[in-house]
Subunit: 251 residues, 6 copies
């Protein structure tokens, strides 16, 4: 089984962390193809970043289906950028790490908080949680005030900030689980869990495992109605990456 | 890994179907212990049945932790009877088949309908879907008008009824996935999927796979707050099955 | 008129308090039959307790219909355990004290808070309030940190804790009414009301009065669809208490 | 005990029907004072009618408190016109017939539909049901297409229209209870119930009984925050009916 | 174009402030007819005030259509009193200042708080915001504790109180826009905006501009179903202001 | 005043229709700069199209701020693609045509339906309406089954399909207003309104008028928190269109 894990930003170091995390949790027979987006921002902290990251993600999915014989895709950013579009252009399972983390947490805790990077990013997490039906169980979104890149540079300070905000989420907001709201936090989950005593999940691990499950069970994305293959039409720009979109339906 | 799959009703034939389904989908290293509740109703179609099935489910979980070295539990009835209580008395993962089926379907379809047995059972499915946050994506709950036991007796008629109601769900209600809303329907999923062309899930398979995932990742139920072990107190009746509840905390 | 008030736990002292409260508020022509569950936990503070209390409640209702010529039932625990099942097995009115308290409060206050026993019990109250449509008006659920049995042992300390949390609910959460979220609190309502100056309700009194109202008006539970009598089927265990369930339909 | 039942429109015949209904259901010791609004529309079928009916209702409440020694008020129109304002100007219980009917129905049926007069009136019923927290259980609002005054003129045709729409609500919308959504329908409830076989409630009866209950228990409207007595200020017009509003606080 | 701006209370000074604000923002070709209600309260701070203000508002709209050749109406109180009734009796656009302010704010900020006068008034704002679909974006309603008339008397103290509560809304509740929740606050918007650095809107200005827009585009209120002209019927009282309501349909 | 109206797809004919519509409704002093996206799909009918259209929209906004002295932006596609990101990169007002149409309709009708192109597009409209708070008033989304490009080719057939679906929305779903859910429908609004007799809005006109309003009032997008300018970071690809994103903050 080949699972392609796409880091929607262009940061190599984060892609490497994601790859290590994905390989650590996957089955022996699973091959992880970890890539980052060929175009887009260095990190994703706002809607501008998110939207500019999506075309690169979609390119990687098209490439995955055409050239790489991929069985399932993981989109490794906690805003789940482009997931509905990705589900249109392939019938292979596509999993966002935020939706995977939230769905998994619900099996072991009745409520949770998300710890994110910047104050501004909270809007995106709250919107996504609401869309996915978690309004009643999301206790809070708390931010560390550190950017994605700050975390990359200063591991110890990042861990301290995550712990501080998580404790507030648990004690003040009564969260019974902590979701690490950035793919850049994959390295912190284990230690955080030990420190806090409540479930602490990053999203890459659950997403990879769910992808494996769907592939094994041969579950495919519904191609009736909303997620059917895109209509054939002309595309301009993107170095012609999407100009042969007509081919979708042929596959 | 040892996963105990508990059929909350007392029907042997259904337990056997569930066992076969669980064993078909699990990993090689997974041992399935399929049991039915020692006390309770022959089938679960209303709240009365559901509540009388729960004590037996809880007994099986206590026994599983005490005597059987179980790693995770699946409660194999589409009403997820007793799931919150089960999560209180063990820190091993507990998965209801309805919550597993709904969570899994969401990764491959943006909406779904549930096909259940009797008209009266719709109330329970709607309530559960709402509690779990699926109000916006649940297109409809449709019933076949056949009881659980009717299905056991007449496979062909059951399949026809399921197909008929599923087609209405797809065509009239615009459902993009079908959930088979009874553990007694495990045998129908594959053929239904072929006939309908949209994802068709029964819940036992997703629940077993999610249980496997949680065990492998060593994710445990949160023991802070809502799901902490029950307080020590005296219990009367139930042939003393719950009288040593004080022991929970010792483990 | 004969109203059976069922304490779902097995505590005699609490049953006696409930009986006194019910008799104090009922009409002259009303006879109160106060009982506690024959099987189950000594107190109800979590889902485990709740589910193990339900079969005993259902036994008492079946006995009430068969042997005691009961006109209506009150289930006297603030989690309303088993109410939907109880409505299936009898066409006599069945009233939970939480639903009665919330419905009554709404006629005299636009918002309210619930004061409960333990932190963990808040989850149950919030879930019930949401199910019953009170999300918008429930200001908070606050807990005293004292168990049900602690309250029984130490009246003065219990009253102080209830007052302290109620004042926080009024001042910080802007609650305009206080619901005492445990049948063990029936003795505190009058004094609390005097101290706080906002409406303070325990649930037994409203539930008994609503039961009286429904009986006088000859309003019966709807037997079409969701609450129709349970289907005939075999039951195992429970000392055969439910084995003649087939008789429901005959009545 | 003296309960004032206020018909917010100016129709004498409807006031008389309401009075008969209230007296039929009340206790022996209860005196029903049934009046209609001194100013306003002949019937209430839209927001214009509703708002013009409210000042007359408020006048009757002020008069009730000042001159008539009233213990509780019932506002007998299914739009519950002016209920929050009424709760501000008196601390005696004020009950709207729609809120009373919906709260009562919930104790005997898990869902309901409302049958109203005109198509246009549905908007008001849906809005009120949503405000009161009944969105999930309101199956539909159906209209007969007959005006309030048509019903007064043609009893048989009215009954037929109500039955026709109620049957659709039960069969097509799966309503498990029927609320007669107009105070002009009080005479139809008994016969409708017999014909339909599901609970059929008009609102006057539940409202009177709930008013009696609140008076007996000495429950008063919360005077902290939202429903505290109105601030002292000058009023113009209304033949000085509200010019001594300053007196509220003195009482 | 002639826009009638109706102050629903009877305060001349506030009407004058509203007129100045409306004239400052309107187009050259727009004539502002600013009036206050002929009957009703001096200010609106609770439901009692609100309901007694509505008949005067409706009178002014009827007069506007009959005698003044008005093109659109603005109801200048932040509770939007009588808006649905006003939309029934005219097909000219009717705009409430609260709905205008909330709709406008949403184009420039993803969330907002409302600053109102008294604690008690918060209930009305929350209810209106919920009805209009702003539950998810309303961060808080905060009150200054000063009455409408206090603001009129003490400009500096009012400004200080508004600033204090707005800062709390921004810093503690994370509001990204501030709505001044009283027509008496029109004079404060500009200075507040400068002090706070986030968008600060009073409602009169957006309402006048939206009214202008609707008139220019010749958009009229839908006369199908809910807002169709009221049915012809007799009215008592109100000095016969509504007795020729039958004329609506003729126009 | 200079308003830039951006057609997010690359279709020249549709851009021209949009330009004509915008110029028809705008003030004399308003200059309309109508452009289409430099990169992206020929039409937008699914999430894939939508996401690939957004980078081009953002490029046009950056260009508008840097080179064209634009005062406000209209994004002329009924999915409002990229609106939150657009609000981050400029402090000039940004208006999506769907949000403008829905907000405007609410001032003249209490409910509405959206008529869209393909069945699959309904998912996007429902999601957007829910996000914006219109769940309660959206009666239905109905589709014509014709693609965007089909409409461009066959005006008469398109009009007939729109009328057919609109009539169903009015008669079956009780919609009191019709929103034309595609920027390609701008030419149909006037004739549709005449045929249907309820308000019919396309979104370009309301969006342009709201943009004019915001500019005149000098209302700017909130730059505190969610919509603050994007953080400085490196971008790859897009022919360096976003590589000087650091400049945002300088402006």
């Amino acid at each position: 089984m080949r699972i392609k894990v796409i880091n929607p930003n262009t940061d190599e170091q984060m892609t490497e962390s994601i790859r290590v995390t994905a390989e650590r949790c996957c089955e022996k027979g699973t091959e992880i193809i970890a890539v980052h987006s060929p175009i887009g921002p260095q990190s994703i902290e706002n809607y501008f970043d998110e939207y500019l990251a999506i075309p690169g993600v979609l390119q990687e999915i098209i490439k995955g289906d055409k050239e790489e014989d991929i069985d399932a895709y993981v989109i490794a950013c906690f805003d789940d950028p482009g997931v509905p579009a990705a589900r249109e252009i392939t019938d292979k399972p596509v999993i966002g790490i935020a939706e995977a983390a939230m769905a998994t947490m619900r099996f072991i805790a009745p409520s949770f908080s998300i710890i994110t990077v910047l104050d501004r990013s909270k809007h995106m997490n709250e919107k996504l949680a609401r869309e996915l039906g978690y309004s009643e169980v999301l206790r809070s979104v708390r931010s560390t005030g550190m950017s994605v890149l700050d975390f990359g540079k200063n591991h110890a300070q990042g861990l301290a900030a995550l712990e501080r905000e998580s404790r507030k989420a648990i004690e003040e907001d009564k969260a019974e689980g902590i979701l690490l709201g950035c793919a850049g936090f994959v390295d912190f989950a284990k230690e955080m869990q030990e420190r806090l005593g409540v479930p602490v999940l990053e999203g890459v691990t659950p997403a990879v495992k769910i992808a494996e499950m769907l592939v094994k069970l041969n579950y495919k994305t519904c191609k009736f109605l909303s997620y059917s293959f895109p209509e054939v039409k002309s595309f301009i720009g993107y170095d012609n990456a999407f100009s042969d979109v007509a081919l979708f339906k042929k596959r």
